[in-house]
């Protein structure tokens, strides 16, 4: 168990087309026992960051400290870490027992002395009966457990996991996710977990680092990331349905901030008075879950639009509304509500919204809509 600190990590690859910056000044810390997730779209540098921590890549600059010890230049096996691969990477020609015990074998542990830890790790992962089988005889979930057991047997200071669930089907994913959380709780070892799936990140982590273009856009708890996104990218990437973004204008930046989307003026209540907010164009972001569709045609009651698509998921339905702008808006509604394609609706913001700089995309203010509803 150890405290992991990443300080200004940078990794540049030489490619035939010139230099490619994969990781561009990443810094974060994982406390003892913390579950930290690096999440972002593919190519954002999250896996490269993880491979630098693992020691499979040498960073161009920056430092990696584990328990206060500088490990940046150390080979992987001297770092007290273990890595679980996306592809599971079990040795197909060895039994599950040999697979699990392999880290001990190369460590020089005698055959007799590595039987017990291997069986122990298998017991933790509940695959004891599978020990003498070949990986090919195991189901996908059991293979995942065996791979996890192989990392557990090393008793590392930090677990690294590189998208270990991305090849599993939805049900198995949910099961294995719980399994990883159970192991994490039992062992209390910090985990650095890489995924492109924001849902995985939101459900498993103590802290999330949202990455884009080699940089961390925001580091914080799942709640912070969800309710107080730092910028447009984080807002749109996190959340099951992303975020609606419309061009808007701040018409009053004084005491009562007022924002207009054409003729619609949602009354927003801003908790902290932002310094940077001034009148002019902004982008207004609000989640589909916080979006209400009204059927009236009262002028200025919302953003007028036409229903284009209704996707039903059990109790919920996601409605796509064309509002005469390049981007259409989404709203999550009760699937029992009688609404049909082509219906004229008014899109209104209910609860939280975020005001972003129209050029940089940085957040200017987090706002709640005032309780006072327009008549």
């Amino acid at each position: 168990m150890a405290h992991l600190e990443i300080d200004n990590l940078e990794k540049v690859f030489d490619t035939p087309d010139g230099e490619e910056v994969a990781v561009d000044g990443v810094s974060f810390e994982a406390e003892d026992g913390e579950f930290v997730t690096l999440v972002g779209p593919s190519g954002c540098g999250k896996t490269t960051t993880l491979r630098c921590i693992a020691g499979l890549e040498t960073p161009t600059s920056g430092h990696i400290l584990l328990g206060g010890r500088e490990v940046t230049e150390l080979p992987p096996n001297k770092r007290d870490i273990s890595l679980m691969f996306q592809s599971i990477a079990l040795y197909p020609h060895m039994t599950v027992r040999e697979n699990i015990a392999y880290p001990l074998k190369v460590d020089g542990v005698s055959k007799a002395d590595r039987t017990e830890p291997a069986a122990e790790a298998a017991r933790t992962m509940q695959i004891e009966e599978m020990l003498d089988k070949m990986p090919g005889d195991l189901s996908g979930g059991q293979q995942q457990r065996a791979a996890l057991a192989r990392t557990v047997v090393q008793d590392p200071g930090v677990f690294l996991m590189d998208e270990p669930l991305s090849d599993l089907d939805a049900k198995l994913k949910a099961e294995t996710r719980k399994e990883i959380q159970r192991i994490h709780e039992e062992l209390g070892t910090p985990v650095v977990y890489v995924t492109h799936d924001q849902e995985e990140a939101m459900t498993m982590s103590d802290s999330i680092a949202v990455m884009n273009d080699g940089q961390i856009e925001q580091f914080g708890s799942p709640n912070e990331i969800f309710y107080r996104p730092n910028n447009l990218f984080v807002g749109q990437f996190i959340g099951q349905h992303g975020m609606n973004v419309v061009d808007a204008e701040v018409v009053d930046a004084g005491q009562g901030v007022s924002v207009a989307v054409d003729d619609y003026r949602p009354e927003l209540r801003i908790e902290e008075k932002p310094r940077r907010l001034s009148t002019g164009p902004v982008k207004l972001g609000f989640r589909p879950e916080n979006t209400v569709l009204e059927t009236g045609d009262e002028h200025g009651a919302g953003i007028p639009g036409t229903v284009r698509l209704i996707e039903t998921f059990g109790e919920e339905a996601v409605v796509t509304v064309d509002v005469g702008r390049p981007e259409s808006l989404l709203a999550v509604i009760d699937s029992n509500r009688p609404l049909s394609k082509g219906a004229k609706v008014q899109v209104r913001i209910d609860r939280n919204a975020h005001i972003f700089d129209s050029e940089t995309g940085d957040v200017l203010a987090h706002a709640e809509q005032s309780q006072k509803q327009p008549a």
């Binding site: 693992a54 020691g55 499979l56 080979p75 992987p76 096996n77 001297k78 870490i81 273990s82 890595l83 691969f85 996306q86 592809s87 990477a89 040795y91 197909p92 020609h93 060895m94 392999y102 880290p103 190369v106 460590d107 070949m134 990986p135 090919g136 195991l138 293979q143 192989r150 090393q154």
Partner: protein
């Protein structure tokens, strides 16, 4: 009206007949036994003509005394074999042949694997070096043998000239690569053979190496496995079966090899180094004893068959590494 109706009926009737004919043909063809017969017979015929018939012919011929210049076959039973067993030259050739086949096959496999491992690495000049290494295998054996003959010629061959230029030998005592001591000739021949035929193993092993997932090596590196441990625990199990196959194939081909030996040594000027195929050739075409020559060939065939069967029973090269 009526006639046209009758015509219509007839057309329908003939269609029905045609249909039932096609159906019965399909039924006939979909019979497993008939389908098996039709598909297997052409291949079997080819095999019989090209492989089985010459073998039978050769075995029958080995039981006769045949002069190349006369059409008469005189049956001598096992006479040719008895004669061969009594000859020192036969046993000498047999011995050389075993040494030759064993050393070339083992070295082909070891060197070929080494080349494959090298090609599997990323290094500078790989794109230049790869075709250079593959080139000898692409050159026909006879042509290759001819190049070798020129390189190894005692007085003005490239090899001796290079050795003189580098000061390792003087022009007074140049090495007689193929014309002196039989073991020198053997070593030279083995070396030359590896230059060309290791590449065969390298190509097969290289293809297999490409199929080993990088993740396995990375997992091993994370566990702290050394390069040697990675080779022993991951690479070797993966290429094991390819190696079994290449040892077998190279073993069979090297045991029977004639062209390279014959051309490189310029028709084997020294009598001291003779392998069985060369011996068979000499008996047949220089001494015109075709029956006895076929007895040598039949001996080769029997020896290889026995070795091949034992090999397959023990090595079981068909067991693949299971990859899920």
């Amino acid at each position: 009206m009526a006639s046209s109706t009758r015509d219509g009926v007839e057309t329908v009737a003939s269609k029905v007949v045609g249909q039932s004919r096609r159906e019965s043909l399909e039924e006939f063809l979909s019979d497993r036994k008939i389908m098996a017969f039709i598909t297997v017979v052409p291949a079997t015929l080819m095999f019989a003509l090209i492989v089985a018939a010459p073998i039978v012919w050769s075995v029958v011929a080995s039981l006769h005394s045949i002069n190349a210049l006369s059409p008469a076959w005189e049956f001598v039973g096992l006479g040719n074999y008895v004669e061969l067993i009594g000859e020192t030259r036969f046993w000498e050739s047999f011995g050389y042949n075993l040494v030759w086949a064993f050393s070339t096959s083992v070295l082909n496999t070891v060197l070929g694997t080494a080349v494959a491992l090298l090609l599997n690495q990323n290094f500078r000049f790989k794109r230049i070096l790869t075709p250079v290494m593959l080139f000898p295998y692409l050159v026909p054996s006879a042509f290759f043998g001819y190049i070798v003959m020129w390189i190894t010629t005692q007085q003005w061959g490239l090899l001796n000239q290079l050795l003189i230029a580098s000061g390792l030998i003087t022009s007074e005592n140049v090495v007689a690569w193929f014309t002196g001591d039989p073991w020198t000739a053997m070593a030279t021949l083995v070396g030359v053979h590896n230059w060309k035929f290791s590449i065969f193993v390298a190509i097969l092993v290289y293809a297999k190496l490409q199929g080993i997932p990088d993740d396995l090596y990375e997992a091993a590196i994370m566990s702290g496995a050394t390069k040697y441990q990675q080779f022993r625990d991951i690479t070797l199990p993966y290429i094991k079966n390819v190696l079994f196959i290449t040892v077998l194939l190279r073993g069979l081909w090297n045991f029977n090899m004639f062209d390279l030996i014959w051309v490189a040594t310029n028709g084997n000027p020294i009598d001291s180094l003779i392998t069985l195929p060369v011996y068979a050739y000499k008996i047949g075409f220089q001494f015109q004893e075709l029956g006895k020559s076929n007895a040598v060939a039949t001996t080769l065939f029997v020896v290889l068959s026995v070795v091949g069967i034992i090999y397959f029973k023990t090595a079981k090269p068909s067991q693949e590494v299971r990859v899920e």
